[in-house]
């Protein structure tokens, strides 16, 4: 049996109000690529942060190459041979590639002068080991995310990393870059480097990994050799019930195709991702956008909402060509948008739950600029009850609430504007199962009342569950429009993988 590079036993970690990890075991053997999977909130990222020294576990022990360690810092774990590559590249953008590889470990000569020649040589050979030939004197931010990621890997290797933890490394890469990355990871594995690979994309897990560790609700479900699993059994383990029921299901009653068109997009391009997107949404229709990250789904929503400007193409509402320069103009035409990243673009953290709900409606709740507290409170309480938002009260600061309740508050914010079309970007990301079911129910109910919904989700099961129709995106284009019996996960995957083009 190969040596265990990392061994973690009985790891527990709690945050105020949440038990993120409960008695979790994990081990990584030398020369393997080990997948860590689980739904959002299962505890993957907490486990990684404990593993790399960013968090200190409340209980449990960690061994690196058989030796007990008590990590206090990321730096300390790096010294022990465990490096992490984050989704957000954690390097110094304005510094050269060679400097990023050498930083804080440069060889120095007389008067502390850095030996640049040595640093450059080291960087070149590190990049060469990855099969990359690039000018290591160029600043890092002149290169694509994929290359920056390679630089991060090169740095890890130059620190003599024995294990590399990769957290969602493919989320901002295109297909070709992903293929390259995987080839590289396999090469390095053959040289004895071990990998922990965290990904939402199960296809990648099956493609790349030998072993899978599944987490659910902060607990360990099990370790499995990949050969023992198939797609459905893995999903079943992740969600804790039989996946077949969920994955194959779609809404009752197929789309009739007789809806009145509310919104149309024609040949939308943004000069970056979108290569000409056209589709229409009917009144009361739930339209899902499937595709990989970076395929242009989010950009479509943002352009529709006026948060970004298209380079070409037109948008029609009720048949009339429209152009939104700012979100507020879209809001005035009864559009609403729940952004992907709740923390960065959704909640206004220091404000109360009440103000976060009321903020889209303030002019209506006020008289000559003075807000009526009574009306604001009534509105907030109404929606708190309707959406079953759990909070200490309408005055609780929103950043002290759970993710699911924050998301409901953001939905409440928009529903109170009586929108005609709501754009949802990953509406259930990072939300627990219960709240998620409530949100999906709500979406269906609202569509029944005539609201049009345009929904982006990386969890295709969810789209199959609620949508009337699904558009499949790839590389900035809509490749297929799936209705009724066509709506299956296999069909989505097949389209993304490039088979069965409908266009």
């Amino acid at each position: 049996m190969a040596e265990r590079v990392i061994e973690m036993q009985g790891i527990s970690k709690s945050f105020p109000g949440v038990r993120a990890l409960d008695q979790v075991d994990f081990y990584l053997e030398e020369g393997e690529i080990h997948a860590l999977v689980g739904e959002n909130g299962a505890g993957k990222s907490t486990l990684i942060k404990v593993m790399t020294g960013m968090y200190t576990a409340d209980a449990g022990e960690i061994r690196v190459a058989g030796e007990r360690v008590r990590p206090r810092s990321v730096f300390q774990m790096q010294e022990a041979g465990i490096s992490t590559i984050y989704q957000e590249i954690n390097l110094i953008p304005h510094m050269s590639v060679s400097e990023n590889i050498a930083l804080a470990r440069e060889k120095t000569g007389l008067f502390g002068r850095i030996d640049w020649r040595e640093a450059r040589e080291r960087a070149r050979s590190a990049m060469a080991r990855l099969g990359l030939d690039l000018d290591v004197d160029q600043p890092l931010n002149r290169f694509s995310t994929a290359v920056q990621q390679m630089v991060a890997i090169a740095r890890a290797l130059s620190l003599k990393a024995r294990a590399v933890v990769m957290d969602e490394p493919t989320s901002s890469l295109n297909e070709g870059e992903i293929t390259n990355l995987f080839r590289l990871i396999r090469d390095l594995r053959d040289q004895g480097v071990s990998f922990v690979f965290v990904s939402h994309k199960l296809r990648e897990v099956f493609d790349l990994c030998q072993t899978v560790t599944v987490l659910r609700d902060g607990r360990l479900v099990g370790h499995y050799p990949i050969t023992e699993l198939d797609h459905f059994s893995l999903v079943s383990k992740m969600i804790g019930r039989d996946a077949r029921g969920i994955l194959g299901r779609h809404r009752d009653g197929t789309d009739k195709g007789e809806r009145k068109r509310f919104c149309e997009l024609n040949g939308i391009r943004d000069g970056r991702r979108l290569q000409g997107v056209s589709f229409a949404i009917g009144e009361g229709e739930i339209l899902g956008l499937a595709g990989l990250l970076g395929s242009g789904r989010t950009e479509t929503l943002r352009i529709l909402f006026g948060a970004e400007q298209p380079e070409a193409g037109e948008i029609r509402l009720d048949g009339v060509v429209t152009r939104f320069n700012y979100p507020r103009e879209a809001i005035a035409r009864h559009l609403a948008f729940c952004p992907e990243d709740r923390k960065v673009e959704g909640i206004i953290p220091s404000l109360s739950l009440m103000d976060n709900i009321a903020i889209t409606n303030l002019p209506r709740l006020s008289w000559r600029g003075v807000v009526s507290r009574a009306k604001k409170l009534a509105l907030a309480e109404d929606y708190i009850q309707r959406l079953n938002i759990r909070a200490a009260g309408p005055r609780q600061r929103i950043n002290t609430m759970s993710g699911g309740n924050q998301q409901k508050a953001i939905l409440a914010r928009w529903l109170s504007t009586s929108p005609r079309l709501i754009l949802l970007d990953e509406p259930t990301r990072g939300i627990d199962v219960g709240a998620r079911a409530e949100i999906l129910d709500l979406i269906r109910r609202l569509a029944g009342e005539g609201l049009s919904v345009l929904m982006v989700s990386s969890e295709w099961g969810e789209l199959l569950e609620v949508c009337d129709r699904i558009l499949v995106y790839r590389d900035g284009r809509v490749l297929a429009s799936l209705v009724g019996e066509e709506m299956t996960e296999d069909r989505i995957i097949a389209t993304i993988a490039g088979e069965g083009r409908h266009a």
Partner: protein
């Protein structure tokens, strides 16, 4: 509905943050009462308020700017230019005092608008932007009258500065009360107030919920500049002179300190008007204490700096 306790209840630290400015003010006042002869007499307290007039008025504007995540170091220069414009128009051009005051406010608003435009539209850093207007404003003020002081002998203006509302309340105190109440209500009870905090708290989210963030930022800088101009007119009246070189020198630092000691976080998103008032009064009370006891003025600088550092250390989150 079942009652649920918050995941993160209010901590002792947060409570301290809320009350600290008032406790500090009380402590300084108590100390003053002990060591300063006649401090309790209304005359002294009234003088203290009179002297703190510009700081209090301008801290209100500064608090709003800081709440949007900005800062304005040009207010002292704006005072200077407002004062000199006011004096030149009223004396040399023989405009009426009211007309001159309106013109002074207009020029202040113009400076504020430039600040707001550069920060809100071009997204330049507030420190750099207001450093630019600080330099240009002070330079322009000095150029207008060649750096010389304009002295008033106009009794109307002097009378105006001595006016007492209803015969008892000095006009400065009257205005302080009104300004504090108005700004307090503005940030607490109006659409503008909520938008203001939203802009400082999460600019991107504020845009996505339809807030016209540029307009909010612009208005805040204009308001801050106008309050500075307003304070300048009263200072000009009080001193019966306009000094482009020295009026409002370093006053921006006093205002920022007052806001900081008041517990408004520098990153923006929150605004505490009453605490800012307490902060401004604390600063003035220190000056008064030092002046009234014949202690060298420099001690007040040292005491103030210690209070700033202690206040910020205590109020730090996490």
């Amino acid at each position: 509905m079942p009652s649920i306790s918050p995941v993160n209840p209010e901590t002792g630290r947060e409570r301290l943050r809320t009350y600290a400015p008032f406790l500090v003010l009380l402590a300084i006042l108590a100390l003053n009462a002990l060591v300063t002869p006649n401090f309790i007499q209304t005359g002294t307290a009234r003088n203290m308020l009179l002297q703190s007039f510009p700081i209090i008025i301008m801290s209100l504007g500064m608090a709003m700017v800081i709440a949007t995540g900005g800062i304005d170091i040009s207010v002292g220069s704006i005072m200077a230019i407002a004062s000199i414009v006011f004096a030149k128009l009223a004396l040399d051009l023989g405009m009426g005092i009211v007309a001159a005051a309106v013109a002074a406010l207009a020029i202040s608003a113009l400076f504020g608008a430039v600040n707001g435009l550069l920060v809100g539209y071009f997204a330049f850093q507030p420190i750099v932007v207001t450093l630019v207007t600080m330099m240009i404003g002070r330079g322009a003020a000095a150029v207008i009258n060649d750096g010389k002081i304009v002295t008033f002998y106009d009794s109307n203006l002097v009378d105006f500065g001595l006016y007492q509302v209803l015969g008892v309340i000095p006009i400065h105190i009257f205005i302080i009360v009104i300004a504090v109440v108005v700004v307090f209500l503005l940030v607490r009870e109006t659409v503008f107030g909520i938008y203001l905090q939203a802009v400082g708290d999460n600019l991107r989210a504020a845009r996505l919920v339809g807030v016209d963030t540029f307009r909010i930022i612009l208005s805040v800088y204009v308001a801050c500049a106008c309050l500075a101009g307003f304070a300048a007119i009263f200072e000009t009246a009080r001193l019966a002179s306009a000094d482009a070189i020295n009026l409002g020198k370093l006053v921006e630092m006093d205002c920022i300190a007052a806001v900081a000691v008041g517990g408004t976080p520098m990153r923006g998103g929150e605004v505490r008007i009453l605490s800012t008032l307490a902060g401004a009064l604390t600063m003035q009370a220190i000056t008064t204490m030092v002046n009234m006891n014949d202690i060298p003025y420099a001690y007040s600088l040292v005491i103030k700096s210690v209070i700033i550092i202690v206040a910020l250390t205590v109020q730090k989150e996490k």
